[in-house]
């Protein structure tokens, strides 16, 4: 590996290695998001799909399949499937969260309306379903059906846990699996399944995706209290304003004294937020080492992801996936 290559982000190296496959995925996405009679569908979808998302999930599927020696073309269908499911959940999430910005641009619910976001999300989910049926693999369908249920359950859980300051780390983990890890895990697992990898390898790929997704989400939660709109594409403190019980908040509440508990009950529990509350929340999280603990947890999950890869074939893609897990947490390291 030359210096130039080593200096590249693992995500870019994956993109370069998988360029031809990704081109096929993008072509398939464009074809399948079309609708002859309802032009609103490709308009809304294109706004999101072409907004320069990282296409991380479809790349995970492609990488898993290729790493296990797959030579067919179903991995392209599955990669498009995974991106459609992801896009559908983003459309619905933005409605639920009343978000106004996504990937640095106004959200679809803001540009069009909530109705379009709900229905186009449903359409993309149905299209993803058609794509996976085309692979003819009942096991793949089973994995993605289960992932869909975990995703939706996690979203509802997040909604109801959002204002509940008694939320535990166990519930947090379930929300995170729904929000991110379930689709990451399914994305890598179906890559292995379609490549007819060994059962041990399929489980390793699933474990990798799950741990990567959890690490990714904890980092996202941390950055929400320390990033800027420019670096993370959303505004610092969004989670606080939306009264989300993210990992650093849960850890700070667990160590709160009576006065601090009253603060969390007012700001997160009741949603009564005033000027200076966000800064105070960050100060409390730092005081109790909640940020540092959450950071350590993210590093542990990333290490688990890397370890899982050992049973997979020695392959440049394996090294890239390992580097990706390291890179995800590098932003907080």
């Amino acid at each position: 590996m030359g210096l130039d290559e080593a200096a590249q982000k693992p995500h870019d190296r994956l993109a370069a290695w998988l360029a031809q496959d990704m081109e096929a995925v993008n072509a398939l996405i464009r074809t399948r998001m079309a609708s002859e009679h309802a032009p609103r569908i490709p308009e809304v979808t294109a706004h999101l799909v072409e907004a320069g998302g990282k296409r991380l999930r479809p790349m995970l599927t492609l990488a898993a399949a290729r790493l296990c020696g797959y030579q067919g073309d179903h991995h392209v269908r599955l990669a498009a499937t995974v991106e459609f499911i992801h896009t559908a959940t983003l459309l619905h999430d933005d409605v639920v969260d009343e978000s106004e910005r996504r990937r640095g641009r106004p959200t679809a619910n803001l540009l069009w309306d909530n109705k379009s976001s709900v229905l186009v999300g449903d359409y993309l989910f149905a299209r993803s379903f058609q794509l996976m049926v085309e692979t003819g693999s009942l096991r793949v369908l089973d994995i993605l059906a289960n992932a869909s249920a975990v995703i939706a359950e996690g979203e509802v859980l997040q909604l109801t846990a959002a204002q509940d300051i008694t939320t535990t780390e166990a519930i947090y983990l379930q929300v995170v699996r729904g929000k991110t890890a379930a689709l990451f895990a399914a994305a890598t697992e179906v890559g292995g399944v379609i490549a007819a990898a060994t059962e041990e390898q399929v489980q390793a790929l699933r474990h990798y995706g799950d741990a990567l997704g959890i690490a990714f989400q904890i980092v996202d939660d941390l950055l929400d209290y320390g990033g800027t709109a420019a670096t993370i594409g959303k505004n610092t403190g969004d989670d606080f304003r939306e009264r989300k019980l993210t990992l650093p908040v849960i850890k700070a509440i667990a160590k709160a004294d009576a006065e601090e508990r009253a603060f969390w009950a007012r700001t997160i529990g009741k949603g009564d937020q005033r000027d200076g509350d966000l800064d105070h929340a960050i100060a409390l999280m730092s005081r109790h080492g909640a940020m540092e603990d959450a950071r350590q947890q993210a590093l542990d999950w990333a290490a688990q992801a890397r370890d899982a890869l050992h049973v997979l074939p020695d392959h440049p893609l394996r090294a890239m996936l390992s580097d990706l897990a390291a890179y995800v947490v590098a932003r907080i390291n």
Copy 2:
């Protein structure tokens, strides 16, 4: 058939004949709508599922399977699948339409919020997907994936056509297929497929469901301009207020003179509605025979549904399905 039995509504006779199967379907629905950690899910679902809906769609699946001699238990899974898909679309529809009443009760989006309706709908769709995977039939999955896409596309189409007074009957038909007929057709078709019926019979079942669904929806559209909240569970004129281009409106617009066209452009196109507009709209539709034409079209579709049944086995369920098609249009006959 005794006099008492003949006097019963075909729907009730189907329910009586399929009582044992429907009990299994209801038990499965209750099990699968549960969520250990997110109690909001069964709350919202139960509100809708137990509101005394007619369970027409799952009965169509059960009837189709039994009529073709099916003896296994996958028809129960498919019936629950179909009811879950239907419930999911109702939850999303009510958000999109900003409806306040459904089946004579306040809607979930009113009792909880839009967020819960969107996410619980997603959850039910995912659960339906798990159920159909359990049948192990790729053909069934293909049929239901395609139906899901037609449903979602039809909903988007309805959204964008809602304010467009140039909407044609062809587009109306597509909207109606998405709104009702696609799921009816899939419900009957998968019943035949799971029973390993002949290809001719499977197509006949599909045709029956499609035609029944279209007849059903045209009748619904007609009643919206002539029913009462008590008889149809929604308020007269809802479609007008929501600026929907339903069949009688499309027919009246096609025959409108300049002044009438201006009326439709103002009320439906621009949404500028004043006192007395609804009555005037009904008067225009009557004047041009639009109501009568739409009524005739509903009768034709119902006749098609009945004709399709001829290739199916001679069976009490076949007679009930035939009577059901007659009954659907009896409300306007």
